[in-house]
Structures are given as C-alpha cells and as structure tokens.
Symmetry: C2
DNA sequence: GTAATATGTTTATCCATGGAACTAATAGGA
DNA sequence: TCCTATTAGTTCCATGGATAAACATATTAC
C-alpha cells in the first residue's frame, strides 16, 4: 500500500473511470451518466475526470446516438485510438522484432525479421532489435504518439520483472543482464547512426529501453494475448515449440511465481523410470511431448513442420496415431498434475500443439478426467482449446503487459500529462 | 478497483498507517514522526489518523522511552491488545473448536474438543461448534471486545471464499452448504438455550456465523500461521495426515486457484504404472506417502502415531529406512513438479511429515536437485523445514485470515467506528 | 407548444490533506 | 541555572478534489 494524498485520489479515480470505459463492450460504450451510476461518484466529478482524460488524449467522444427513449441522448465515450502506444518486443528462436499497440490494442507499427538466432551472441541480436525499435519509434513520433513503456518477451527462464535472463536453452543463452545489454546496444545504435540519428528519437529509444523495461517469459506474455482476445479468465496456456513451457492464468492475472519462473512444465516427471533427459533427470515431459520427440515417434524429420504430422494423423497413419497417443498420455499426465496444483478448468494449447488440438483432445481429456481430483470427485468440467492468437503472440502480449500495468496503476505516468 | 471518495482516502490512510505500525518489529515500534517520514504524509495528517485509530481502540501509546539523543522523545505506537478480535474455527478429523485472536495475534479465548468426527453428520458437528462459539463470544463480549469476523478451516475441497465444502474424504462429507448448515445450527442453538440465552450474544453469533463467514481448506489456513510466525514469504506448505494437501504461498499471499482448490497434491502422479488408488487413477502420491502407506511400508500399525516411525528410524530399522526411502522419493518427485510449476524455493513440512523432516530431507533434496530446472540449470538453492506451528494451526490461520483481510482492506468495518 | 425525462455543467460547500507556525520535551554547553 | 539546538507532536489556515443541488440541454410524449 502506498501513501494516498489528494493527488492520488484524483489519479485513482482517473484510473477507475478509464478502465471502466476500456472494459465496456464495443457495441455499448459508456456515457458519463453510466460511469456516475457505476462508480457512485457524482456526475460533476465524472465530468471533470472525463475532461482531464480527453485533454490527455486518452478518451474520445463518439457522436451521440439517438436512442428510442425520452431524455437527452448520452455521449458515448471510447478509448482514443492512435494517441498512446506501448512497445512489445520479442526475441525468439527463428525471428525477432517489435510491435506497437495503442490503448485499444490496435497495431500502430511493427517491424519483424525472420532469422535463426540459436548460437547468435546476445549483443548481435539486441543490435538488430534496437534498430527495429528505432524505426518504429521514428514512425510513431512523427505521428506524435505518446510512448509509455516497453516489454521484451524471451523464450527462457527470466527473472521478473527486469531480468536477467537466466537460461534460454533454445537460444544457447545463459545469464544475460538485459538492461545492461540493452543499454550498450542503444549506445552502439547511436554510433552506427552517427549524425543521421534524430536526437529526440534516440533519446526516446534510450529512455524506453533502459528505464523500467519489462522482461518476461514468452509463454506468460503470449497468454496475455489469449486473455485479451477471448476474455478467458483462468487457464493454463501451453507453449510448445522445441521446449515446452506454460503460463498459469487465474482470474485474468498471470501467476509468475517467486522469481518469474512459474510454469516450467517441460521437465515435469511423467515416468520416473523413463529415459534420461538432456537435463539429467529421468522421464521428463519433453522426452515424450517435445516437438523433436513427437516427430521422431511419428517417423518424421524432427526439424520438419508440425503440419506434416497433422496431415499424417488425418490419413490415420499408424506411426502418427501412435505418436499422438504418446503425446496425449504424457502431456495429459503433466497437465493433470498442473490442474491439481493450480486449480483451473481450461487448457489452451499454443505453439506446435495448437494445430494438434483436435487430435490430442480425447487423450488429454481421458487423463484429466481420471487423474484430476476435481473432475473425478467433484464433477468439475474441463475444456481444451487451441490458441488462435497467431504470429508474434509474445510481442503482442508484451505490449499488452505494458498497457495493463499502466492502466491498472493509478501512479503510472499515463495520468500525468 | 472501487470508487474513491474523500471518505475512502481517509480509510486508505488509516489502513496504511495501521499496517505500518502492525508490521514494525516489537523492539522498535514506530512513532508519529516515523510514520510521517515513511508515508510521506504530513505530521499533521498522521497525528489526526493516529487519533482516530486510538479512539477506535486499534492502537495504544507506550511510555515514551528516553533515547540518548537530543530532542523530544517519541511516543511509541503499538497495536492495541484485547480490544478487537477475530474468530478462527476448525473442524478436523479428531477435534473441532474455535480460537479468538486479537490484532496482535494473541489468543483471547478458545474452546476445543477432541472428538472423532468421521461419519458424524455435519449438522451434529456444527451444533457442537456453535455451542463453543457461543461460549467464546460470551466471554469476549463481557470483556467488551469488538468482533470483526470469522473463518472456518475444513480438511477438504472447499470453494473460496464462502463454501460450499465439496468433498472431505476423511470426514465422509460431501457437498455441505456451509452458510446454510451454519444458519440452522445457530437456530438450533437458540432453541437449545431457550430463555437462558443472552439475546445480544446470540445475535452476535448469528451475525458472525451467517454474514460473510469465510471458509477455506485447512492447509491454506495453516500456511498463514507459518507466514505469521516465521515471516516466511514464499513456500509450499505440505499438510500430510491421512490425505496429503498443500498450500502455495508466494510473497506472503496464499495462492488458492480458481475455486480455492489449489494445492491438491495427494493425487499427483508419481508413477503412471503404479498401483491403483482409491480415487481410481494409478500411482497417486497418497499410495506412496499417505500416512497409512508409510506406516504399512514400515511394518507398523497404520493407525498408530507417527512417532513410532520416528523412533524406528532412529534405531535404523531396515523396514523404517525403506519406508522413508519410498516416501522421500515419491514426495520428492511430487514436490519437484510443484516447484517447477509454481516457482518457490522453500518447502515446509507439516502434519505427519513434520516430525520426519530430518529423515526425509536428504531424499527430498536429492529429487529436487535432480528434477527442478531452477536447481540444475540456474543454481537456485532450496530449503526444507519443519512446521512448528503446533496444534490447531488451522484455527489460528482462520483467525489470521480474517485479520489480514480486515487490516488490508480500507473498506473493511475495522475503520468504521 | 408544453410537460416529462435523462444527460451533462455550473456553483457553492464540505472534507481530508498540505504547510507553516507553534508548543513540548530532551541534551549539551556556557 | 539558563540558553540553544534538536526532535516530536499540535494548531490553524490554505488548498485541492469530491459533493450536492440548481441549472442548462436535448430528446420523447401528448
């Protein structure tokens, strides 16, 4: 809890009113009168708050739509488009880039590059990234968009909320001090651009990349995209590529544990008498359900696209069917354990698992219904769905994380004009 | 977020000041000047807040202790003793009762009864409980203590925050609507007492038992006792009696999942090819580490006290040593999975496991260091300790839960005098 | 055209914090 | 002993933001 002066009172109410407008359904935006009703504040206070939010460029009025009802028509209030943005960055195994979202979640600008990053030095990757950031920030500042923060998604174990990145097996990175590496990358950018650089843009980039830059696991951030898109509130998001990660979401909030390392399900024990994993333990989930293991079990090239397997399943090829059985049993055991521990009733399959959802569902459900206490003994119903958040979900989630934090915090600089 | 009027501002600051005083170390209580410094509020505001809290009976002044320092000595402020209390109730397998704690966590009154409850009807148990409540409330009201709420600890799966109790295997209870059963128990109490009843006390009991009564799993509540006693902030509390439960605590907050069912580790899969459990699945943790399984493996009577096993271990009896090996391996696998999923670095063993902590530690640690990713690859250090919270930890935790909720919420009735 | 109704603004008031001056209690030094 | 410096806590007035009621505005109903 923090000191509450009168300024905080104002900020709290600005924040309250804004988030109510932001959470309104698109087909039924709220008016000042609605807000006064909902919050219990007087109409006068709400009017004053809305005025402030409008002059800060955070809200717009729509044309009053004539209702079939007596009385003066209400003025619908909506979140302003294209005035404020957050930056979501992602460095992953085969691409890196940045995406800028405004308060409505719309993409204002982005820059992505396909590139195989394993065994690339962090400094090299960050040098590319800050160039992309510079481009995007240049475009946004020319449109006089206000930038409120940035977040970086990484495929590995990273400390919450500012790093370091402890380990990213698929990148071959270990103990990367993100703020540090980012700061030097910005310095190098400045030297690269020399006199061509716009000093104002460069200063903005430096400030965004060094002051309060958020860092988080890619799965946790991709899960935020899922929350925003489908209004899901509680689920486990499974992010399976080469490694397997997960995000735990309860009541719309990502649970990230003590350090930010929660959801590392790739090395859950499926069978203590199983084969030895690269990590040194026995019978880890990745030995059964990692992408390489799946493709190998199906008799396919481990580096091939997962769609080959989907096709093979549709043709009912025995090897593919056996592979699916192996994955759904092992992943089902691991997820049953997760559900018993964290108590959610929905699984969202992302990454390589997403296209396999329909194949995997029966086997997963069989494990869940037999192993989850809440299912067998309490009768809770479970759902398994596929993620539909598309490409660069980590970058989108990063930008959303910044927005969420700024909007939810009455002390954030969003309200300081 | 909730509407912030001027009254809320005041309440927030009352709450802020109070919690700073409550969290001060006992040997260095805070003064008004300290609070002004810490909060950033002016001395005038702090003085005014403290005056309100004192007249509400929430704070006391101690004698100014002369410091060896120039200037007027500060007046130490401490949480008032014995003026306000919360009620923590517990119904467990072999006892039930109630304990009242004041704001300092001291026991003001209690009433417990040993009783074998399995296969007792809920109505019977609740009838006993409300009698105990009536006794305690009578004593407290005669001392003019203000009662702010009540919470009930139950050994089973209960919905957060008001029930129902879905399943308590060890009591043989299922789908008990707690507010409902409690309400009828209070009615019956009124009839039992007849004209002997003090109407004011009866009204207080009815209000506490029906209006906002909290209900939670015993393990989650016992964990709160651990938080309060040892200032532990992040850990998994393992509550092993006949069944095995756990509570997940991160940063001082209990994580209870979507419904309040988180931490059900008794049926985590230890070995999918293992024996069939009573729940219907195979290789559940309870088959290896439940109290009955342990005692059987050690060649002891399953209903005997766990201390028999501790003694047998100290004598290095082969059967006991083998039993310990079985438990530490299976529990170690289950806890490794928990740690990978929820990211904490400390385990607290409670219930039957507490006296076995020293025997179990090496085996548990071996599993954790080999199976937890953060241990093998990031070098995180883990600790395993024994719970020392003693008897009726669930009841104490219940009372603490009420206090925590009341103290943390600026809108709670604590501040409404 | 007038009454009824709902939205939103203006104006005077209330309330909690802010700030500066003031009182209180101690140590140290002449 | 008395004066000064220092720290604690209070008093009193100013300020900022919410509140309440009156008012202006825009629509429907008759």
């Amino acid at each position: 809890m923090v000191r509450a002066g009168q300024r905080s009172l104002r900020d709290h109410n600005l924040c309250l009113v804004f988030s109510l407008i932001a959470s309104a359904p698109a087909d039924n935006p709220r008016s000042r009168a609605d807000l006064a009703e909902m919050t219990g504040l007087t109409k006068a206070t709400v009017s004053s708050l809305v005025t402030d939010l409008r002059t800060a460029g955070l809200l717009s009025e729509l044309e009053p739509v004539t209702p079939h009802r007596v009385g003066r028509p209400a003025v619908p209030l909506v979140v302003a488009e294209g005035t404020v943005a957050s930056l979501g960055m992602e460095i992953n195994v085969d691409f890196l880039g940045i995406r800028a979202l405004d308060l409505t979640g719309a993409i204002l600008a982005e820059s992505f590059e396909r590139r195989n990053l394993p065994d690339t030095e962090p400094a090299v990757a960050f040098a590319i990234l800050v160039h992309q950031v510079y481009d995007v920030v240049t475009r946004l500042t020319s449109d006089s968009v206000r930038l409120i923060g940035a977040c970086l998604a990484l495929p590995g174990i990273a400390d919450h909320p500012h790093g370091p990145l402890r380990l990213a097996p698929n990148l071959g990175w270990r103990d990367v001090d993100i703020p540090q590496v980012m700061a030097t990358a910005v310095d190098v950018l400045g030297q690269d651009l020399g006199t061509d650089a716009d000093p104002a843009v460069l200063a903005t980039v430096r400030s965004l990349m060094t002051d309060g830059l958020l860092v988080e696991n890619e799965a946790n951030l991709a899960a935020r995209t899922e929350i925003a898109k489908h209004q899901e509130k509680s689920f486990i998001y499974v992010s399976g590529e080469i490694g397997i990660g997960a995000a735990i979401v309860v009541d719309g909030r990502v649970f990230s544990g003590l350090h930010g390392w929660a959801g590392e399900i790739g090395h859950l024990v499926v069978d203590p008498r199983g084969p030895v994993c690269a990590c040194g333990a026995t019978g880890c989930l990745e030995m059964y359900a990692g992408k390489r293991a799946i493709m190998a079990a199906a008799g396919l090239d481990p580096d091939d696209c997962i769609d080959r397997l989907v096709e093979a399943c549709q043709r009912q090829e025995p090897a593919a069917v056996a592979a699916i059985a192996q994955v759904s049993e092992s992943l089902g055991i691991a997820l049953s354990n997760c559900i018993n521990i964290v108590d959610v009733n929905r699984i969202v399959l992302g990454g390589s698992f997403a296209p396999l959802t329909d194949c995997l569902r029966p086997g997963l459900m069989a494990q869940i219904t037999s192993r989850v206490l809440a299912s067998r003994l309490v009768g809770e119903e479970f759902e398994i769905g596929a993620s539909t958040t598309g490409c660069h979900a980590g970058a989108t989630g990063s930008a959303l994380a910044v927005l969420d934090q700024a909007v939810a915090d009455p002390a954030s600089k969003l309200w300081k004009v």
